[in-house]
């Protein structure tokens, strides 16, 4: 029976995803577009935390740098969409490389602390260097129409359907790429590092280089996610690269099940929609975000997938006995 459940669920999910912008209004489409961009962001983080077992607290830095790179290219340098997007992705990859390069030089938890330091540093720079980043106000993206291909324009006005489907397509492509990446020889090495780093070192793998590499690959995807998120929102702000967002993506990844790729994606979409709703209810939503972080760590460290799996096991045992 379970062999039928999975394809059926997948088909229902795909149909819902395809029809969503026609079922809901403009606001629902906008929320979903942004949430899916955050889902893509969580998917990229799963390559770092879930697949390689690296704890990085600077993933939102890459997400934000990608978006700022594109926004600066479009508004300050007056470049077109594609060169600006390339600039954003390149900036995110360069940032990922720099953070990784210095972080792998330290041992053990030094890696984590170095990512914390970089995340805080970039956040302060974005706040203070107002001539480049607009400081607290951020950068408004003046163009809502993006020359995607010659003759094909995408409308990135808030809640547009073409924006939604673009993000869905990017998420699907990134998911397929990630699955291929994890299954490849390189992915096997990364999983080996997660399984036993010392053994991988002893076998002659240059573990540090692999860590930097996965951070750069995930950084490129995070940069794309940041660009899509910024386009759907119409502006880039410091909120996109706060340490808070880096912590949230860790929580989403844990909730969804590290290493499952689809799990963190789904968890990020649902959780970010939840936070969006919460933000509309109360200005104290950050208090709730803190409480959720705490509760997830204490009660759901194996994620929702782990809990559901355990419940299913128990149910299976009871029906058998």
């Amino acid at each position: 029976m379970s062999s039928l459940v999975r394809p059926a669920l997948l088909a229902i999910a795909l149909v819902l995803l395809a029809l969503a912008p026609w079922l809901g209004g403009t606001y629902a489409t906008l929320s979903l577009t942004s949430a899916l961009a955050l889902g893509l962001f969580a998917l990229s983080y799963d390559l770092v935390l879930g697949v390689t077992g690296l704890v990085s607290v600077s993933h939102a830095t890459l997400f934000g740098v990608g978006a700022y790179g594109m926004a600066i290219g479009m508004t300050k340098l007056g470049a077109g969409f594609w060169p600006s997007a390339a600039l954003g992705i390149a900036a995110a990859m360069a940032m990922a490389w720099a953070i990784g390069f210095f972080a792998v030089r330290t041992s053990g938890p030094g890696f984590i602390i170095m990512t914390v330091i970089f995340a805080h540093a970039v956040e302060s720079i974005a706040n203070v260097w107002t001539s480049l980043t607009g400081g607290e106000n951020g950068i408004m993206l003046s163009t809502s129409r993006v020359a995607f291909l010659p003759g094909v324009d995408l409308h990135f006005t808030a809640g547009s359907r073409s924006a939604y489907y673009t993000v869905v397509a990017c998420v699907a492509l990134a998911w397929l790429f990630s699955r291929w990446f994890v299954a490849s020889g390189l992915g096997l090495t990364l999983r080996g590092i997660k399984g036993n780093e010392l053994r991988a070192l002893a076998l002659g793998y240059r573990v540090g280089r692999y860590k930097v590499l996965v951070n750069v690959v995930a950084g490129a995807i995070a940069g794309v996610a940041g660009i899509l998120y910024a386009l759907s929102q119409g502006f880039v702000s410091v909120d996109m690269l706060r340490v808070l967002l880096s912590i949230e993506v860790i929580v989403w990844t844990i909730l969804g099940g590290p290493g499952t790729l689809l799990g963190p994606l789904v968890a990020a979409v649902l959780m970010s929609l939840g936070i969006e709703y919460l933000r509309s209810l109360t200005s104290q939503y950050l208090f709730v975000v803190g409480a959720v972080t705490l509760l997830v760590v204490i009660f759901l460290p194996e994620g929702l997938g782990g809990v559901i799996g355990r419940l299913l096991d128990r149910a299976a045992k009871e029906t058998r006995s």
Binding site: P109, I125, V128, G290
Partner: protein, 288 residues
């Protein structure tokens, strides 16, 4: 620039450095003994500053009477945090304790924000005079900060080196399982370290409050420098965090002569990055 400015900024750097060292030494102690990255450490510092402000507002007339009360209050909050949410997850990997302390810190920050409001509060200098040394005049309170901070840092250092608890602390840092097998009450050692760390950060906040003001976000502003100090000193190295603190304090103060404050922070970060290339284990070799 004259020599006067240089000397004044060197002295300012020492007072900054002592405050950084008070925060960083707690982070480094907690890591060294409990494998625990405390993301809420900046919030203990912030709570210390609010504690002294509250003490003075509710009518404790003397700064020096309110100081121990504020520090004690923060230690109590820290220990409550430890027994309520952190005890069940202490043996988990660093990722979990990092997330838990971040969540707790965020809640503390939001609580302070909603109770006391977003605006910065001022505290009058408890010591107003100036110290005159030849042609130089220097605010006496900053000298007090340097002296009080250094004395207490040294006191905790002596405690770690000489007392029974200090012996246990160092033993747990070296080999937790063996120390527990020899009958040392490891959970109680953790509690002592947690109290010491949160107390040191609170003291930093109390001493900093009259200089920099009191606001809900002050913890976030200082935590970047504190982590840089911890890495420069070598993670888990108490003396290293003190030396690193003073070093970064001087960098910030001297940088402020020519640069904007944030750019001076970046110089501090650059210093750490260069150091990582030259001496990856920190300025002093790690004590662990």
């Amino acid at each position: 620039m004259t020599a006067d400015v240089l000397v004044l900024q060197l002295a300012n750097g020492l007072s900054f450095g002592v405050i950084f060292a008070l925060i960083a030494s707690g982070i480094t102690l907690m890591w060294g003994i409990m494998d625990f990255i405390n993301m809420a450490h900046g919030d203990f510092y912030m709570l210390g500053a609010y504690g002294i402000w509250l003490g003075l507002v509710i009518g404790i007339g003397s700064f020096w009477l309110a100081l121990p009360l504020a520090v004690l209050g923060v230690v109590v909050i820290g220990l409550l945090l430890r027994v309520s949410v952190l005890r069940p997850i202490f043996d988990r990997p660093p990722l979990h304790t990092l997330l838990a302390t971040y969540g707790a810190g965020l809640m503390l920050q939001q609580a302070v924000l909603s109770i006391f409001g977003p605006f910065s509060k001022e505290i009058a200098l408890p010591v107003t005079g100036q110290i005159v040394l030849g042609p130089l005049r220097y605010p006496a309170y900053r000298v007090v900060v340097i002296v009080v901070g250094l004395v207490l840092i040294a006191a905790v250092g002596v405690l770690i080196q000489r007392s029974t608890y200090g012996l246990w602390i160092r033993a747990v840092a070296q080999d937790r399982a063996m120390t527990a097998a020899l009958g040392v009450p490891v959970p109680r050692v953790y509690t002592v370290v947690f109290a010491l760390g949160s107390g040191l950060a609170a003291l930093g906040g109390v001493l900093a409050a009259p200089l920099f003001g009191v606001s809900p976000t002050m913890g976030g502003e200082v935590i970047l420098l504190a982590f840089i100090v911890v890495m420069i000193g070598g993670l888990g190295n108490y003396l290293g965090s003190v030396v690193g603190g003073v070093l970064i304090g001087e960098v910030i103060a001297l940088g402020a002569i020519w640069l904007q404050p944030t750019v001076a922070y970046l110089v501090a970060l650059g210093l750490l990055l260069v150091l990582l290339l030259v001496r990856p284990a920190g300025l002093l070799r790690s004590a662990r």
